[in-house]
């Protein structure tokens, strides 16, 4: 250990309501090193980065930068210490030029008599970009750049700040192969300049190509840390997934409907848009089909196409043996397809409306007489669902915005139960929900299947899919990489399929 230790995070712990996001994790970084941080979603990678960025505070633990113990209370502290973070979503202003974005908030450097000297700024921007081996015109507005060029601008922005520690969160998620090569070249340049890079990625093959060391987190705990040469992809997946989780996954729930009584309720044929390509699969009554895949693999896009929330360019949707025309969510609901979206607060609920109003929103015609809503009938129907779903509230009039995440999810579920849709699609049904309510929601989903509905569940948590589903389809780059039955499925296999084209 002759090289300089740039960063040393010691026994970092962070507790969120319901989860131990980090449990005394140690992490260090040398100058001129690329240190990969890997783990499943929710393993604690982003929490660790957020603490480093000053966006979150750890409950306990110390951070040393270049041997000195420091406190990072806010993002400005991190910036002063030479810590740069590149997030998955870019934080660039599309209408401003490349140079203006690179030096955003730092224009003072170029002031002459109170005016920004853009010639100076552009020259300086070109200098930073050339250090990255790039020849992007600094005058161009960022909106005209490709995704990978934007990434370079993000890095340039970090470098302009004299960054010595650079954390990159899934930087290759939206890049093509060639762009990835470019990025790797840039990263190697930075390495020679003595920058320490924390590299977060789901793409195992990339990690072995670029990283010097690997640290694996699982459920907020440090599982393993070693030089990349001492690991292979089999071992890595095993560390990420964990043996125990694997065993737990084999405790299958009994199927509700005997296979002989299963009839196909939904058939997707060759569904295509700009994000997913030629997707086909079937879904039986009583079956729970899982959709696995990495962020950006097209899972959400696929279900939004099925639900008519987005336009498909081609493909057929067949419900109960009859082709249906689904051009809007309204059409989908008429065909008996319901979608519980990934972010219930963003596009699932009308937060200021009451539980009652949210539950009956999609089936008002069932409780209406002509244009008039039958108040008592509506209340009876909603109260019945509140009871059945065990939504914790004093009154059905309570605005949804005052409910907890789990109860909000149940309200959305209540809406779909009221529509009598026989095909229900759950996009990340238990994201951000504590373990007790999570079990309840799993039980509800199983119950719905055993009543003869067809269920599709998207989840980034593989154990969740393994516990719930009869079959799991794995998406990768917008195509079905494989469909595994529950007997065939293991976390390793799913992971491999999910990263197969990466």
């Amino acid at each position: 250990m002759k090289r300089d230790i740039l960063l040393h995070m010691r026994s970092m712990s962070k507790h969120y309501p319901g989860v131990q996001a980090l449990d005394s994790v140690d992490f260090d970084l040398f100058a001129g090193e690329i240190h990969a941080l890997v783990g499943e979603n929710g393993a604690g990678k982003s929490t660790l980065t957020k603490i480093l960025a000053g966006a979150e505070q750890s409950d306990s633990g110390t951070i040393e930068v270049s041997g000195r113990t420091i406190a990072i209370r806010e993002p400005a502290d991190a910036r002063r210490l030479g810590i740069g973070i590149i997030y998955q979503e870019f934080k660039l202003v599309p209408e401003l030029s490349v140079a203006e974005n690179i030096f955003l908030g730092d224009e003072r450097r170029f002031l002459r008599h109170g005016f920004v000297r853009f010639s100076l700024m552009h020259a300086e921007a070109s200098k930073v970009l050339s250090r990255l081996g790039e020849t992007i015109d600094p005058v161009l507005p960022v909106r005209k750049l490709s995704v990978s060029q934007r990434q370079i601008v993000e890095i340039a922005k970090a470098l302009s700040n004299h960054v010595r520690i650079l954390a990159m969160d899934e930087p290759t998620a939206s890049l093509t192969d060639r762009e990835v090569e470019n990025l790797f070249a840039v990263m190697r340049n930075l390495k020679t300049d003595g920058v320490g890079i924390i590299y977060i990625s789901h793409r195992i093959e990339e990690i072995f190509r670029i990283a010097d060391r690997i640290t694996v987190l699982r459920d907020g705990k440090l599982i393993h840390s070693c030089p990349v040469a001492e690991a292979d992809s089999e071992m890595l997946v095993k560390w990420m997934v964990g043996r125990e989780a694997d065993r737990e996954a084999h405790q299958w729930s009994p199927k509700g409907i005997a296979p002989s009584q299963r009839r196909e309720i939904l058939r997707i044929e060759n569904l295509t848009s700009d994000r997913v390509h030629g997707i086909s699969f079937g879904l039986d009554r009583g079956e729970i089909l899982g959709l696995a895949g990495l962020t950006g693999s097209g899972r959400t896009e696929l279900v939004r196409l099925i639900f008519g929330a987005e336009r498909r360019s081609s493909g057929r949707i067949v419900v109960d043996g009859r082709e249906v025309s689904v051009r809007s969510p309204g059409d989908a609901i008429k065909a008996g397809i319901g979608l519980l979206t990934e972010d219930r607060n963003l596009d699932g609920l009308v937060l200021q409306m009451s539980i009652l109003e949210n539950i009956t929103l999609s089936s008002l015609s069932d409780v209406a007489f002509g244009p008039f809503v039958n108040g008592s009938k509506e209340r009876r129907a909603a109260s019945e669902l509140v009871r059945r779903l065990r939504i914790k509230t004093r009154s059905v009039e309570t605005p949804v915005e005052t409910l907890s995440g789990g109860n909000r999810q149940k309200v959305v579920l209540g809406r779909w139960l009221m529509t009598q849709c026989n095909i229900l699609i759950f996009d990340e049904p238990t994201a951000g929900i504590d373990i007790a309510v999570k079990r309840e929601i799993h039980a509800l989903i199983r119950g719905l299947a055993s009543e003869g509905r067809g269920i599709i569940v998207i989840s980034s948590e593989l154990p969740e899919l393994l516990q719930l589903c009869d079959r799991i389809a794995v998406l990768c780059d917008g195509i079905v990489a494989g469909i595994l039955t529950r007997e065939e499925a293991t976390q390793e296999r799913l992971m491999k399929l999910a990263t197969s084209y990466a």
């Binding site: 699932g348 008039f372 809406r415 529509t419």
Partner: protein, 310 residues
């Protein structure tokens, strides 16, 4: 109960205002004067109901004042057609209301299908309808109307001014629509979260278009009443009415971001501003000073509303 509470802040301000004017002027708290206030607010308040619908969807309609003028000149000119009055009269009303509906349909279509922001769409329509009103009349008012027409806006039924009766009917209907029909529920849902509403299967574009049609028809009705009150079709009628109307809606507690608000609030908001103008007139406050006072009271009312919500 919730509606009552939401309107309470503004209702309180209204009571204070009434108390002050009652103390300062012996002529204020009389049946005649209070009926007069109701008459004075009727025409803008009817439009304010339509505006409440639009603002509940997080939209805005700036074209209402110009539309009132255009509808006014078109309807009055039809009364002068060489027809028997019993035909000309309903024809003129129908033409006026249809014109209002058409304006709303155009605005709603541009907003929903062509995705132009409501502010721009209705700003453009505002100058288009005003311009057409002048083109149509060559800048001259439409005079010498049948006497019966003036009765519509100036007459009384059972002692209550006709425009006030129309206003009350409009408010009661709007209240029922917003709180007891599917259409009303959808309006709140769309204003609260348009994407969630769409994904709940609501035909958001259709509903929003219908809302602009409602606003157009109510503006047209108001435009006809205004022409009747003036016993003429004036191409420059209703200038700046859109701002008075929006003020009444906002003072009444409806959020410009959509999804929150009631017509009860709008009624109280219209009344607050109407009572203020009336009281200041009784106290012989000059019209220049009145403008300042009205502006200050609008700000105070909205501040009070925000403070109440905290």
């Amino acid at each position: 109960m919730k509606n009552l509470y939401q309107s309470f802040g503004i209702g309180f301000a209204l009571l204070v205002e009434i108390a002050i004017f009652s103390a300062l002027s012996p002529h204020f708290f009389t049946t005649d004067n209070l009926l007069n206030v109701m008459l004075q607010i009727s025409i803008t308040a009817i439009v304010a109901v339509g505006m409440t619908f639009v603002i509940l969807t997080a939209g805005i309609d700036l074209s209402v004042g110009s539309l009132m003028a255009f509808v006014g000149v078109v309807a009055t000119s039809m009364l002068k057609l060489d027809l028997r009055l019993e035909y000309a009269f309903p024809l003129a009303m129908l033409a006026g209301l249809l014109l209002g509906a058409a304006s709303g349909l155009i605005a709603g279509t541009l907003v929903t299908r062509f995705r132009i922001t409501p502010f721009i769409v209705t700003l453009a329509l505002m100058t288009i309808w005003r311009g057409l009103a002048f083109v149509y009349t060559e800048g001259r008012p439409v005079w010498e109307l049948p006497e019966a027409f003036a009765l519509l806006g100036n007459g009384r039924t059972l002692g209550i001014p006709n425009p006030t009766i129309v206003m009350i009917v409009v408010f009661v209907t709007a209240y029922v629509v917003l709180s007891h029909t599917r259409f009303g529920r959808y309006i709140y849902a769309i204003g609260g979260n348009p994407e969630a509403a769409r994904l709940a299967g609501i035909g958001v574009k259709r509903i929003v278009t219908q809302v602009y049609v409602v606003c157009g028809v109510l503006s047209a009705a108001s435009g006809i009443l205004l022409a009747s009150r003036m016993n003429s079709g004036q191409p420059n009628a209703g200038i700046m009415y859109e701002l008075d109307v929006i003020a009444a809606v906002v003072v009444g507690g409806t959020s410009l971001f959509g999804g929150r608000g009631t017509v009860t609030g709008t009624f109280l908001g219209s009344l607050l501003i109407g009572v203020l103008r009336n009281g200041l007139n009784l106290l012989n406050v000059g019209s220049y000073v009145q403008q300042v006072v009205v502006g200050v009271v609008i700000l105070l009312a909205v501040l009070l509303d925000q403070w109440k919500k905290r």
